[in-house]
């Protein structure tokens, strides 16, 4: 059941260039959806449209079968965590968290237990009387989260909430956010440009580029089966080459090497991609078969857990990761095998 629905949202600041182009996105209740993409792709704009901080030029925004497109920010009852946290420096942690409740004219007797509860859930119980300046980055992050959650919002919106934290804290906080989100069962939209962060936390991911959603799927599906070249490149596919269709699941490269794939598309010309990790290296002299392309090592780089080779082949340069037990030196000839289930067509 769709809970949040963005229908044909168009946003343009100058009337000529569209920041968002007829964007569609449906989110189910209780789901944590990430908007992933490079800077300038429109992910933050999408979040701000949802929050009501930007009014779309066209399109509809529906939550729980109510059209909220023209409802102002302060009447939407969504919790939002900002990249800068945007805590109120003149208020204590408790006052920051209670800000939204106070505006709802809540009584002290109902307000205080709510504040106390959320401070406990977010691990801030001891810090209620401190001011934001007296807190560490991670603690401020929790206050921002507590402040957004205490109003019992219909939606939780997170705008790159972890980008100001150091690497270790970032991992810790994303687990924390996931835990709290699960516990409260709150529908959430998370904006990030970090794919690892996004994959670890999300139920579904919308990969955005140039104001449109390129793919909206589970993290696993996006990781294993990117649908477009942009998505593939963004999530770490490095090798791209052209193929021509010969028959059902059978393709040839420009040089006539035969490749079998597990996917089948109708287009006669398309692009194939594969991760450096998924290519097998076979020594020279192995019998040439389908899904094999010969090449010559150009550069070898040590990555710690493996070697990475840049291999010159007749379909172009291919990056391959090989085990560190066998090191091929530059100039050496070898055969690259592309397992058919790992070869992705985009």
């Amino acid at each position: 059941m769709t809970y949040v629905d963005l229908k044909d949202i168009r946003v343009s600041y100058d009337g000529k260039n569209n920041i968002l182009k007829d964007l569609n996105l449906s989110i189910e209740k209780g789901e944590l959806v990430s908007l992933l993409g490079p800077s300038g792709c429109g992910k933050t704009t999408t979040l701000r449209v949802i929050a009501g901080l930007i009014e779309p030029n066209d399109g509809d925004f529906v939550v729980d079968n109510k059209n909220l497109t023209r409802v102002p920010v302060h009447k939407r009852n969504f919790g939002m965590v900002f990249q800068s946290y945007a805590l109120f420096p003149h208020l204590t942690v408790k006052e920051n968290v209670g800000f939204g409740l106070k505006l709802r004219k809540e009584d002290k007797t109902t307000m205080n237990p709510k504040i106390q509860d959320i401070l406990e859930v977010t691990g801030l119980a001891e810090l209620g009387d401190r001011y934001p300046k007296q807190l560490s980055g991670g603690q401020r992050q929790r206050v921002a989260l507590a402040r957004a959650l205490v109003i019992e919002p219909k939606l939780l919106l997170l705008d790159e909430p972890l980008s100001n934290l150091d690497a270790k804290l970032r991992v810790q906080m994303r687990i924390e956010i996931k835990r709290i989100q699960r516990k409260l069962g709150i529908t959430s939209v998370f904006v990030t440009h970090d794919q690892e962060e996004c994959f670890s936390i999300s139920d579904r991911v919308a990969v955005m580029n140039n104001g449109i959603i390129e793919q909206f799927d589970t993290p696993e599906e996006i990781y294993n089966r990117p649908k477009t070249e942009f998505v593939a490149r963004f999530i770490g596919f490095e090798n791209f080459f052209n193929l021509t269709k010969q028959g059902e699941k059978t393709y040839t490269t420009s040089e006539g090497h035969m490749l079998k794939t597990s996917q089948s598309w109708d287009d006669t010309k398309l692009v194939a991609t594969i991760r450096p990790d998924d290519i097998n290296i076979l020594p020279k002299g192995t019998e040439q078969d389908t899904n094999m392309i010969p090449g010559k090592v150009v550069v070898r780089t040590f990555l710690g857990k493996s070697y990475q080779y840049e291999v010159e082949t007749n379909v172009g340069k291919i990056l391959v990761n090989g085990p560190k037990e066998t090191a091929y030196s530059s100039g050496e000839e070898l055969l690259l095998q592309f397992p058919e289930e790992k070869l992705i067509l985009v």
Binding site: V73, G79, M80, S84, H90, L91, F99, G100, Y131, K133
Partner: protein, 277 residues
């Protein structure tokens, strides 16, 4: 005293201040305390005189009213300027600073033409038939207030624009997502965070109004003396340097006390934890 360099750098300024500011001040104020022996007599008699007191209270009242009006007019203006695009902000700042670029005598004369018995306002109201007799607006306390607000509002605005520009707009947005409309967000977030600017601006406006001479002289006239015009009269017209010294010190002390008070009020409202994490 490991490093003397900073003190050496300080010397030229310090000498200038001591020779041309501190010493003259002492030579003027010292006689007000010393009359063969140490005494506070001149001060006691100043505050026992009803006329003197009326001048003192007028000065305090006018300065405070001017400060208040400058806050009320300055905060929304500064907020608006701070939130407009960079392109227009420069122009608006220039426009609000424009009064500072003209001579204060000329500015006060402009107000004489507006507020006078045959001035623009009276002329207008009489032609419309709303009044038959001109209203007395010039040579009143209100005239001093109007003239001083016009004079000192730019100081309040530039101070506040600087402070408000530095308030993260995301804080206002955060307040809005939490259920605050524009006005509430302004009152609960922008205003408390502008407080340091309001205090600095108030101190500038207050001490400026208190010590201004031209405006009260031209717009208040001799019936509505302020401490500064009273001081001038005592020194230059009456040649009574003793009283002038008394008034000078009273002005200095009043300014310091009021500045302290402003700061105390600020500290009471602005308690956002001193320590840095």
């Amino acid at each position: 005293m490991k490093n003397k360099a900073p003190f050496i750098l300080l010397t030229p300024g310090l000498i200038l201040l001591i020779v041309f500011m501190f010493l003259p001040l002492v030579t003027i104020i010292w006689p007000t305390f010393y009359d063969g022996k140490l005494t506070f007599g001149s001060y006691l008699s100043f505050f026992q005189d009803n006329y003197n007191l009326s001048v003192f209270w007028r000065t305090l009242r006018v300065s405070l009213i001017v400060t208040l009006i400058c806050i009320l007019l300055g905060v929304p203006t500064a907020y608006y300027i701070a939130r407009t695009s960079k392109k227009w902000r420069g122009l608006m700042m220039a426009m609000s600073l424009f009064p500072l670029l003209t001579n204060s005598v000329i500015r006060s004369f402009a107000w004489i033409n507006i507020l006078g018995t045959n001035g623009v306002i009276n002329d207008f109201l009489m032609k419309l038939g709303i009044i038959t007799e001109p209203i007395k607006m010039l040579y009143t306390d209100s005239a001093i207030v109007v003239g001083s607000v016009y004079l000192f509002l730019p100081l309040m605005i530039i101070t506040l624009v600087g402070v408000i520009e530095n308030i993260d707009l995301e804080m206002v947005e955060a307040a809005e997502t939490l259920g605050a409309n524009r006005l509430t967000a302004f009152m609960k977030v922008v205003l408390p965070l502008s407080l340091p600017g309001i205090i600095v601006g108030s101190i500038l406006v207050f001490s400026g109004t208190l010590s201004a001479y031209t405006t009260p002289q031209l717009l208040g006239g001799n019936q509505n003396m302020m401490l500064s015009t009273f001081l001038y009269q005592n020194a230059m017209t009456l040649g009574n340097w003793q009283s002038a010294g008394v008034i000078a010190l009273i002005m200095i002390v009043t300014t310091i006390i009021v500045m302290k008070l402003f700061n105390m009020i600020a500290a009471k409202f602005d308690k956002r934890g001193g320590e840095h994490a």
